[in-house]
């Protein structure tokens, strides 16, 4: 792998940009691998990277039905935070956040992780109670999160409207300074390039059409659009399409796939310095390095694989943004898009073994998967390499739904982004 640096750029500037090489190889699938990851999004690519980098399993392939990073990774509002309520969740997301903090250097790819702070607003007495419970729990878990008064919130985010006479005035907010954003495409490409350098095969346009099991019921091979590939260790990291892929092995999971929309404005000079989220009036906003306001909200109401949502859902989101930021009413929507998010009943993910030996799954991230990318990849790789979960993902089993050990972040906060 050719090292990226200012020096390389300088050299290429004088060399007419002739020295660049493909960031990952374009390869045909081999007949057999030690590990296969189904799904070439950020999570899947990260898992492949860590399988090779930390567990020495370099005979690994990532199978992607389209182009890598083209699912939810590529249609993302890129919020990163770890201030979750329950101990299990805080450990999981903070594991990811710590990986984010060094990711550019580890991958030698600037993923533009930008800890500009995530400010979660409270608008009602109940919101304040919930926010403070989070802050106390986070502090106990060593996760930074602090309470800001309305005036402090405005100082942190100047365009925020803290007038008391609006419909749902801002009563304060919980700020995680270590939270922020990153560049979604770079995450996928950075992991792909680093995994490729370790020998991982990244195979695009390779839809999985069957999961083949041996006489004992264990994973034996993967049937794909590009032929049969033998492998006894298969990880599924297919986000909204997880149910469809696992259905090939007759594995059913407590998942439903919903459309999640987001939009960006036309680019403007810096206006929003941090990420602002409001769960009770359903909107969040940040500004990309390019200058676009990046805006989203919760999912649409019904399950769908269309990768698009309804106009009225956008309208609700934008009316909330215009209340919080009344100066943005004249800004204009440039692009709107939809992803497919797989949601579990307790809004917490599953990173676990399935009942099929050799088949592992990482799913159920709902609207909040991007922030977990390095962590989930790391933990899925661990679980696949050792055939047992890492202590951090041990609670995130499938069996918790049978036993009632839910990790119900949704109950405490209406939306978990």
């Amino acid at each position: 792998m050719r090292k990226f640096s200012g020096w390389t750029l300088l050299k290429e500037a004088f060399g007419g940009q002739q020295g660049w090489t493909p960031q990952w190889r374009r390869v045909a699938p081999q007949p057999e691998y030690d590990a296969i990851i189904i799904g070439g999004g950020g999570h899947g690519l990260a898992a492949a990277y860590y399988l090779a980098a930390e567990h020495g399993i370099t005979r690994t392939a990532v199978l992607e039905k389209g182009w890598i990073g083209g699912g939810n990774t590529g249609r993302n509002t890129t919020i990163i935070r770890s201030n979750y309520l329950f101990d299990e969740s805080a450990a999981l997301y903070d594991h990811a956040l710590k990986l984010w903090e060094n990711l550019s250097q580890v991958l030698n790819y600037n993923v533009m992780f930008s800890p500009r702070g995530v400010l979660m607003l409270a608008h009602t007495v109940h919101d304040v109670q919930v926010a403070k419970r989070h802050i106390h729990a986070n502090r106990g878990n060593g996760v930074d999160n602090e309470w800001l008064s309305p005036e402090e919130a405005k100082a942190y985010c100047p365009p925020l409207n803290i007038e008391r006479n609006i419909r749902y005035p801002v009563l304060g907010g919980a700020l995680q300074r270590r939270g922020g954003t990153a560049r979604h495409d770079a995450v996928a490409w950075g992991y792909a390039r680093a995994a490729d350098a370790l020998g991982v095969d990244i195979i695009e346009n390779c839809e999985v059409t069957g999961l083949v099991r041996d006489a004992s019921g264990a994973m034996e091979a993967v049937q794909t659009a590009r032929g049969l590939i033998r492998c006894r260790r298969v990880g599924v990291s297919a986000a909204g399409n997880t149910s469809v892929v696992l259905g090939l092995a007759d594995v059913r999971l407590p998942l439903e796939s919903f459309p999640l929309q987001a939009l960006v404005s036309e680019p403007v000079k810096p206006a929003v310095p941090c990420v602002v989220m409001s769960n009770s009036i359903h909107a969040y906003i940040s500004q990309s390095d390019k200058g676009e306001l990046v805006i989203g909200a919760g999912t649409d109401a019904y399950t769908s694989y269309t990768q698009r949502g309804a106009l009225h859902v956008n309208s609700h989101t934008l009316s909330a943004i215009c209340e919080l930021f009344p100066a943005f009413r004249r800004m204009r929507m440039l692009r709107n898009w939809g992803g497919i998010v797989d949601v579990t009943p307790d809004r917490s993910p599953i990173i676990a073994k399935t009942q099929v030996a050799g088949l592992y799954v990482n799913c159920g991230w709902g609207t909040g998967g991007f922030k977990a990318t390095p962590g989930s990849g790391h933990l899925l790789a661990w679980t696949m390499a050792r055939d047992e979960p890492h202590p951090i993902n041990a609670p995130f089993t499938i069996e918790r739904f049978r036993d009632g050990h839910l990790i119900d972040e949704a109950a405490a906060a209406a939306v978990a982004h």
């Binding site: 439903e256 796939s257 049978r402």
Partner: protein, 97 residues
């Protein structure tokens, strides 16, 4: 905003409806006799179909009735709607040629 054929009121805008999840998930007649797996299946396991999906809607801001629908989740087009309690129509019968 979808346009949904309420079996009672006719074609109406989605703003009047509430989605109510997968259809034909019957609550066990005697839950106390179900195994933990069966009960978890009733509570949580859903088909999450990519394709033709039997689902429930409620015309909550209309006639207020729950009813069932067949919708293609890859296009969001409805193939049929029918009243609660009625059997699911054969998919071939409602598919357009």
């Amino acid at each position: 905003m979808l346009l949904i054929q309420c079996p009672y009121c006719g074609l109406r805008p989605e703003l009047e409806f509430a989605y109510a999840g997968q259809a034909h998930v019957a609550r066990p007649a005697d839950p106390s006799t179900t195994s933990p797996e069966q009960w978890a299946e009733f509570l949580y396991l859903r088909n999450n179909t990519r394709g033709i999906h039997a689902e429930r809607w409620r015309h909550v801001r209309g006639c207020a009735r729950f009813f069932n629908a067949l919708r293609d989740t890859t296009t969001d087009h409805f193939l049929a709607t029918y009243r609660a309690g009625e059997p699911m129509p054969a998919i071939q019968a409602v598919q357009q040629p």
